[in-house]
């Protein structure tokens, strides 16, 4: 065993360096324990309506909060997700995954408890601070921290490993949404909507679950590699054996080309995701009920989640650049074809095309950590990934604004509701063409950016499947 194991505190990297008999398949569920919890963020909208009736109970009273006021809670959380992922990335690489995951558990679980206090006192600023600021920081640190650990445990299957964790983020909403509804129903009374109690329960449950992940996580010894695996002798040019420092990485064109590729891929998907229910009802007027539209949204969530695992696993075999290229080419074709399905009344094909589009939206998120590891090495991949996630925050603004603006403009021009999405789809296809160009321009990072071997502190050499 590595002698370093005997030193360091409970949260130190030395303490969680795995011994020789450790099975690496313990690490993906540790990562999933984090991502399944923080994925709750996607289901936050289930609280919106009940939170507008906290005082009035049976209906909103004049002193109750409004939907636009409540909308800021999620927006603040996403902003702090991006900020914390960007700024804490370097820190979490230095302290290791256990401390970072525990910090995420404290922030995310604690954020719920602070927000519950805000609900109890009916102080909106406290809810903003609790779920928005604290919870958002927990989201950012929790999202990034297990990813680089998995990349180091699975040098032979980087894509599949990160796909497993990031799939959890997509799946978290599927758990949180029905769970939150059941809890609110259970706690609802003549004097309470049950939201405060639900926040307390969720805060405690998520804290415990995330702590289990933090306790179970391990990092590989510096000289560790999977049993029977040797790095391929004929190395793919797009997979670097070198490492690039986090501060150096953001000065390379590769970082910014990938930033735009991710941003455009997410923009195209997120705009659709936010408007899915309305879009299918307006595209097939009189054919799709509100319940059926909710079913469509559920299917999109499933495609988003499964795409995270499937596409990143496929990227281990065909390469990250080809995978991203597929997203852009196939996405462009599908966005051009979708309006025809709407006007032609082909519901099944319309749904199928969107399922593929949303699978690629999820796949973009899960493939990008492995893409970064291929380009910049594994040493600072967690921190670099954190900084790249600012593209997600930007897309979170671009996507919905673009779709809503174009829709409203088309309606003002007198275009029928069934046709208002046609132009939007063409704009999305155009964005994907630009993304394709960015992806095609990505080349291996120049040797001048590589860290010197004596600065790398014995980190395992970056290598992976094709």
């Amino acid at each position: 065993m590595n002698q370093a194991v005997t030193r360091g505190g409970f949260f130190s990297k030395e303490r969680i360096t795995a011994g020789p008999g450790f099975n690496r398949w313990m690490v993906p569920p540790a990562a999933l324990a984090i991502h399944l919890c923080i994925g709750q963020a996607y289901a936050f909208s289930v609280f919106n309506k009940p939170m507008t009736q906290l005082l009035g109970i049976s209906e909103s009273s004049p002193d109750d909060w409004t939907i636009p006021e409540l909308g800021w809670i999620f927006s603040i959380a996403i902003v702090f997700l991006g900020l914390s992922a960007a700024f804490a990335g370097k820190w979490l690489e230095e302290v290791g995954p256990r401390k970072a995951m525990f910090a995420a558990a404290c922030c995310f679980g604690g954020g719920f408890l602070v927000a519950a206090l805000g609900l109890q006192l009916h102080q909106l600023w406290l809810v903003y601070f609790g779920y928005g600021v604290l919870g958002g920081i927990g989201l950012g640190i929790g999202y990034v921290s297990p990813v680089s650990t998995l990349i180091k445990w699975f040098p032979d299957r980087r894509g599949m490993a990160t796909g497993m964790a990031i799939m959890g983020f997509g799946g978290g909403a599927m758990i949180a949404s029905p769970l939150s509804l059941k809890l609110m129903n259970a706690f609802k009374s003549d004097t309470s909507m049950g939201v405060t109690e639900t926040f307390v329960v969720l805060g405690v449950v998520y804290f415990v679950y995330m702590c289990i992940g933090a306790l179970a996580v391990r990092i590989p010894a510096p000289d560790w590699k999977p049993e029977g695996w040797t790095p391929p002798a004929q190395q793919n040019a797009m997979i670097s054996r070198n490492h690039v420092h986090i501060d150096r990485a953001i000065k390379t064109p590769q970082f910014w080309l990938l930033w735009w590729a991710l941003c455009l891929n997410v923009t195209a998907g997120i705009g659709v995701l936010g408007q899915a229910s309305l879009m299918i009802q307006e595209s097939f007027q009189g054919m799709i009920t509100a319940a059926a539209a909710a079913g469509f949204v559920g299917l999109l969530s499933l495609a988003n989640m499964s795409g995270r695992f499937l596409w990143s696993t496929v990227s281990d075999y065909i390469g990250r650049k080809v995978t991203y290229g597929t997203f852009f080419v196939l996405g462009t074709i599908l966005y051009f074809l979708v309006p025809g399905m709407g006007t032609g009344g082909h519901v099944a094909l319309f749904v199928l095309f969107y399922l593929v589009i949303l699978s690629m939206y999820g796949g973009g998120f899960s493939t990008v950590p492995a893409y970064l590891a291929d380009l910049f090495g594994t040493r600072y991949v967690g921190g670099i990934h954190g900084r790249l996630l600012t593209a997600w925050s930007a897309a979170g603004i671009f996507g919905p604004v673009l779709v809503n603006y174009i829709r409203d403009y088309q309606l003002q021009m007198g275009i029928p509701r069934s046709d208002v999405y046609i132009y939007t789809m063409y704009v999305m296809a155009g964005l994907l063409v630009i993304g394709f160009i960015c992806n095609m321009l990505i080349r291996p990072v120049s040797a001048e950016h590589h860290m010197q071997t004596d600065n790398i502190a014995g980190e395992p050499i970056a290598a992976g499947a094709k």
Partner: protein, 41 residues
């Protein structure tokens, strides 16, 4: 007590840990599929 083990990780522990995250995930997916079924009614 040290966290790292010299011996092999017990298979039962790995299975239990996967169930800990797998069961809630399957429950969530099943709920989503039930909701999605409305699209085909």
């Amino acid at each position: 007590m040290q966290d790292t083990a010299q011996r092999k990780t017990p298979m039962g522990l790995i299975v239990a840990f996967w169930l800990l995250v797998g069961v809630p995930l399957i429950w969530g997916v099943a709920n989503t599929i039930i909701t999605a079924a409305a699209l085909f009614k």
